[in-house]
Amino acid sequence: MPQIFSKKANTYSRVSLFCLLALPAGAIMAGMAITRGPAQTNVGMPLDQPVPFSHKHHVEELGIDCRYCHASVETSAKAGVPTTETCMSCHAHIWTNSPLLEPVRKSYETGVPIKWQKINKVPEFVYFDHSIHIARGINCNTCHGPVQDMHITWKGQYFFMRWCLECHREPEKYLYVNPRDPEKEPRQKAFDLYSLNKYGEDLTPVEWRNLDGSDLKFSKDQIAEGKKLVEKWGVKVKQLTDCWTCHR
């Protein structure tokens, strides 16, 4: 009796078996990669805005404090986006003929607000409060990425819950004081970073990480320092991971 399967069949069957396992696994991994990548999360993708506003120019080059425009960041859950009036407080005097600023002038004249594309958005079920994070000295860039380097603003972090919990579980890794002036209010310290950076001061690794928004290894010393701060400021770590702290 002749062989039913040729020798090739061995290869086919092996490949088939492999594919049977690998394809679904690959599909799952591809799905995961997509959901975690910029395609889905928009991280690192500058979005078109009606006015090509440059944070780099305003923050890094001109040294304008974040709070000049995001005025309610210290007091309210929402940082606030500047009114047209705020833009015009300078641009009524400088760059008054710039075509790039035409939408701002038009808005000011007609009273129709500028419609910005929203870049950073937490899911609806998250009740995020800017003011308390600022009060603890968490720098803007920790969540928003290196804003002072952005010409057109992009999203700095993907805002997965896992990422929020990194800090909410171990706040000691992220709390720090200004080594030049340890008694300085944490709130104020957070905003000082930009000018320190602008004027070329040496930043400590933890400060650098806060400005950069990047992940660094945490040194044991720094974690020990952070733990002291957790103690000193009365941060209730158990409470930080209570569901109702952010969801309700």
């Binding site: 007091t75 500028i114 209730k236």
Partner: protein, 1006 residues
């Protein structure tokens, strides 16, 4: 099924015997529970009550659905990030910070009288009404109507356009037409102008009305569906002049209510409830309670609370008043009806006489003028005038006897003497006395205008409908029960094309200014307010020094007509306890609010006593799969109305109660077709009650009643006792109470829920609540406040019948028997507000397969909506039955653009398939805690107030931090009468109760 009515009806004598003998508990929730019929128990125990109405799914199909659901469930998380926009202001409004709520003072007007409120606005949109602590009618509290009014504000069915005979028109055309009418009237080409308004206390509006009347020669008529004619006429009868009585319950040791419900109706009732409650606070040895004697017809809240209560027909209350007057030594003759008995009257009289100057007799709003006159005469006789009741200059502006006024108007209309009729607010075509036949008379008027927040039954019959701005959209003013004036300050531009009544009248006087100018000019120019005083009034919500002055109350000799005899079955007419005279018919929150005593929703019913039900052969209970009530047809004279029967223990025999306000046909999507219209039964002579009614059963109907949902199977639940019992044993604990739970020593030995090392790591503030049952009057303000604060969905009548109402807090009503004398006819009534107890060992938590309900460091039992997959195990395992499940997409209703604005942005709007429950208002806790951390100033007691606590007129709910030794909640928990509900479970609920202490006069014969 299948048994005939005769067999199925409960035998009341047997019930009574059963109740008296052996049940081992003396609290019951209703007749059906006492009867313990098999059908009732089956229905109660059924996970899906009324399963007869559910679609049948066999096992195979069920598995198919389950399989498909599981496959698809994972996909629900898949979506791309939605695009959204940020739209900042062009010019930043002053003092407004994005994300921070701002409160403004304004005035809520109910039945013409103002109550000061603070309205929370969020980015310019009013969201929640709270009481104004500076306002004499509120003192910081609210009632259910004030809370729910927010839904009326954003109601998509509100009138949006000026219409002429149903077609869209404009204000210019409408005003032009009216001005032409004025011209023609002046020339004599058209009959006189008539204006019909509801009762008003607004000084500015009254001034402009007077101006309008003098400019155009118009006549001003007033009418309200549920008016205050009797109260006003009664005062006139007693004193010969108009005055307004203002009560001071703080000074009253003895309160006698003649069918009065000062907890839920009449001017100042929120304030009165607060004052009254201040005389019912028990702290340790300090027991100085007032005593309430109540005579009631339709059971009401005061009667439910009263220490001594008697029931009689509404028509017999006058006899009681006369007997009481005789017993205190004024007047002659008169003996109490048999249902009340001499003993009650004599005892009440003795105590009144012993407390001259510190007692008060309160007449009911719906009692005839003679009862009011007698009550005032008794108060003056007892030396109460100026002490517990102060008579002040009339608060109402240009008040008129509504029924008389409307009769005159209809007469004039019928005789063709009205050329133009302007109806401001109100709905006379719906709620006028039937014998006036208002609708027919309306047809004889050439030009008719109606202004209203809704286009209602009256607008339908008028040529023009003008949309009215709601009180949150317009300027105005109103006076409180004691005359204190306050400004109505708008919180938002009119959503639709509305104007206020004031602006309309001013425009017709050729003054086109807006409401702000009109009101400000009135107060600053005519009443001499300085700019500073005006601004202070706006800020505080009260205009200082405007309370009415006291007037000397000189009694006139009373010449009472003999009481008209009523015979046969008596019908008592009452405004509905939730939707009032019908204005709020389209308010879902109020429709679904259980009526305080019967716990029915969405309907008005025929209320009847057990004995009368037996006589009329009305049924109590039937088929368990599809429970229905008898549908009765009540006929008075030639008019009849059909409504389902509710058998209400405590209702007087020989009478039935019908509530007006239902049966609207032009209310809107929600209100149309709910209940039946009782107004056609009312005539000018029988505004409050009528005799010789007949009743027959014509069928069956479903009633959406929340009373039996989530039953607690008769355990030791409401703890209560008299003052003497309290002095003997301050815990008021019934004998045989188990003590394995609570916070005792043996706890660990017996506690099923002990979790060893995994025990919750409590840290920080520890939140807890205590409810004083001795203060709860059952008014529902907390339920309504919770609805608004927490975006609670309205589910509709059908779903309430299925037991799916979503209220996070419910007020259980229990009937109790007097010691040794259990009674179906006149039971004691107890209320118990119940929300999630936040048990420290919460039984709901270990059974959740997805950890969607877990414990927080601060002792809150957290519900995480995004994790919930809807197994409902938690609800099954909850001993208090306080969890609510979104069986359907109930919140879809809130996707309508205007209703979207109603939602509190601090609280998630829950979707289908998710469990939810009371959160102890965690959004308020979080806000306070964040402020605490930011400022570094520790939280004070009272910094976190839950919505229910804030609304409560009696301050029966206290919320606070257990770690704060000095907190009110700690003090209350250390009261000896503090007790835990179902302590034997050892689940350590964070909400505890204070046992109710009553102060009955034991001498009164039952």
């Amino acid at each position: 099924m299948g048994m005939d009515n005769e067999q199925k009806r409960n035998d009341l004598a047997a019930l009574q015997a059963k109740l008296a003998q052996s049940r081992g508990k003396d609290l019951w929730r209703g007749l059906e529970e006492v009867s313990e019929t098999e059908e009732f128990n089956r229905w109660l125990d059924d996970e899906f009550p009324n399963r007869g109405t559910l679609p049948h799914v066999d096992r195979r199909d069920f598995l198919k659905f389950m399989g498909a659901s599981m496959l698809l469930a994972g996909l629900s998380g898949c979506r791309f990030l939605p695009k959204s926009h940020i739209v900042p202001h062009v010019m930043g409004p002053e003092d407004r910070v994005t994300g921070i709520a701002v409160y403004y003072a304004t005035t809520f007007v109910q039945d013409g009288f103002g109550t000061g409120v603070l309205v929370r606005t969020y980015e310019g949109r009013p969201l929640k009404i709270e009481g104004n602590a500076l306002h004499p009618s509120s003192l910081g509290a609210t009632n259910a109507t004030m809370q729910a009014a927010m839904q009326t504000m954003y109601d998509p069915d509100r009138a949006k356009l000026v219409t002429y005979r149903g077609e869209p028109s404009t204000w210019e055309l409408a005003l032009g037409t009216f001005r032409k009418c004025i011209e023609q009237t002046k020339k004599g080409e058209l009959g006189p102008i008539a204006v019909l308004t509801p009762l008003t206390t607004s000084p500015t509006f009254a001034a402009w009305m007077r101006k309008f009347v003098s400019q155009t020669g118009a006549r001003w008529y007033q009418y309200d569906g549920v008016g205050r004619d009797a109260a006003r006429e009664g005062v006139r009868m007693a004193f010969g002049d108009d005055t307004t009585p203002v009560y001071d319950f703080k000074k009253a040791n003895v309160v006698v209510s003649l069918d009065a419900d000062f907890f839920s109706e009449g001017p100042g009732h929120v304030r009165y409830t607060r004052d009254f409650a201040d005389r019912r606070r028990v702290h340790g040895e300090d027991v100085q309670l007032n005593r309430v004697y109540a005579v009631e017809s339709t059971p009401n809240l005061v009667g439910a609370f009263a220490d001594n209560k008697k029931r009689c027909k509404a028509s017999e209350v006058r006899q009681v008043a006369e007997a009481l007057a005789t017993a205190i030594g004024m007047g002659s003759g008169g003996s109490a009806p048999a249902s009340v008995g001499d003993s009650f009257v004599q005892q009440a009289a003795q105590e009144l006489l012993a407390n001259r100057g510190s007692c008060v007799v309160v007449p009911g709003e719906h009692q005839p003028k003679e009862v009011h006159a007698l009550a005032h005469a008794m108060n003056v006789f007892l030396g109460n005038a100026g002490l517990t009741v102060t008579y002040v200059e009339p608060v109402e502006a240009d008040s008129k006897n509504g029924v008389l006024s409307l009769s005159r108007l209809v007469e004039a209309m019928g005789a063709g003497q009205v050329g133009t009729l302007l109806i401001l607010g109100g709905n006379p075509a719906f709620d006028a006395p039937a014998d006036l036949n208002f609708a027919a008379a309306l047809g004889k008027v050439e030009h008719t205008f109606h202004m209203g927040v809704y286009a209602n039954e009256t607008s339908e019959l008028c040529d023009w409908h003008l949309p009215e701005a709601y009180f949150l959209e317009a300027w105005g003013d109103a006076r409180a029960h004691d005359g204190t004036a306050s400004i109505i300050q708008p919180l938002i531009e009119p959503l639709y094309d509305g104007k206020s009544q004031l602006e309309l009248v001013a425009a017709l006087c050729n003054d086109p200014r807006g409401g702000l100018d009109l009101v400000r000019d009135f107060w600053m120019k005519e009443r001499g307010l300085t700019k500073e005083a005006w601004e202070k009034s706006l800020h505080d919500g009260v205009i200082e020094g405007t309370a009415s002055r006291e007037v000397a109350a000189t009694l006139q000799p009373l010449n009472l007509d003999p009481a008209p005899a009523t015979s046969g079955l008596e019908v008592i007419f009452r405004p509905d306890p939730t939707i009032g005279d019908g204005f709020y018919a389209n308010n879902g929150w109020l429709q679904e609010l259980p009526k305080p005593l019967t716990k029915t929703t969405w309907d008005n019913c025929v209320y009847v006593s057990p004995k009368t039900a037996e006589e009329l052969k009305l049924n109590v209970w039937r088929d368990a799969d599809n429970p229905q009530h008898d549908l009765a047809e009540v006929t008075v004279g030639s008019a009849s109305v059909r409504a389902p029967v509710i058998i209400q223990p405590g209702h007087p025999d020989g009478a039935i109660t019908l509530h007006v306000g239902y049966g609207r046909t032009k209310a809107g999507l929600i209100g149309d077709g709910c209940g039946s219209n009782v107004y056609p039964l009312r005539t000018t002579a029988t505004m409050h009650f009528a005799g010789n009614a007949s009743l027959k059963v014509v069928g069956k109907a479903k009633v959406a009643n929340t009373q039996y949902h989530h039953s607690m199977h008769g355990r030791d639940i409401v703890r209560y006792g008299s003052v003497s019992k309290y002095k003997e044993n301050p815990t008021l604990e019934p004998p045989g109470t188990m003590h394995i739970g609570g916070h005792g020593k043996d706890e660990d030995k017996y506690n099923l829920f002990r979790q060893g090392k995994k025990d919750h790591a409590f840290d920080g503030h520890q939140w807890a609540m205590v409810v004083d049952l001795g203060l709860c009057v059952g008014c529902n303000a907390c339920v309504a406040a919770c609805n608004v604060e927490n975006n609670i969905a309205v589910v509709g009548k059908d779903q309430v019948i299925n037991g799916r109402e979503m209220h996070w807090i419910r007020i259980d009503r229990y009937y109790g028997s007097k010691d040794g004398a259990p009674s179906l006819d006149s039971p004691d009534t107890h209320f118990m507000p119940l929300a999630c107890m936040h048990c420290e060992m919460a039984p709901c938590e270990p059974v959740c397969p997805v950890a969607a309900t877990v414990h927080s460091a601060e002792g809150l039992n957290m519900m995480v909506y995004n994790r919930c997959v809807g197994t409902r195990y938690c609800s099954n395992n909850c001993p208090y039955k306080v969890r609510r499940f979104n069986f359907l997409y109930f919140t879809k209703q809130y996707e309508k653009p205007s209703l979207k604005m109603l939602m509190n942005p601090d609280v998630t709007v829950r979707s289908r398939g998710v469990m939810e429950k009371c959160t102890f208002c965690v959004q308020r806790i979080n806000k306070a805690r964040i402020e605490e951390k930011k400022s570094g100033v520790p939280l004070k007691d009272g910094d976190v107030i839950t919505a229910c606590q804030q609304a409560c007129p009696t301050q029966a709910i206290i919320f606070g931090d257990l770690t704060d030794e000095q907190s009110q909640v700690n003090k209350w928990r250390h009261e000896q009468r503090n007790y835990t509900l179902l302590p034997e479970l050892g689940i350590r609920p964070r909400t505890t109760y204070l046992a109710k202490v009553t102060n009955p006069n034991e001498e009164v014969e039952a």
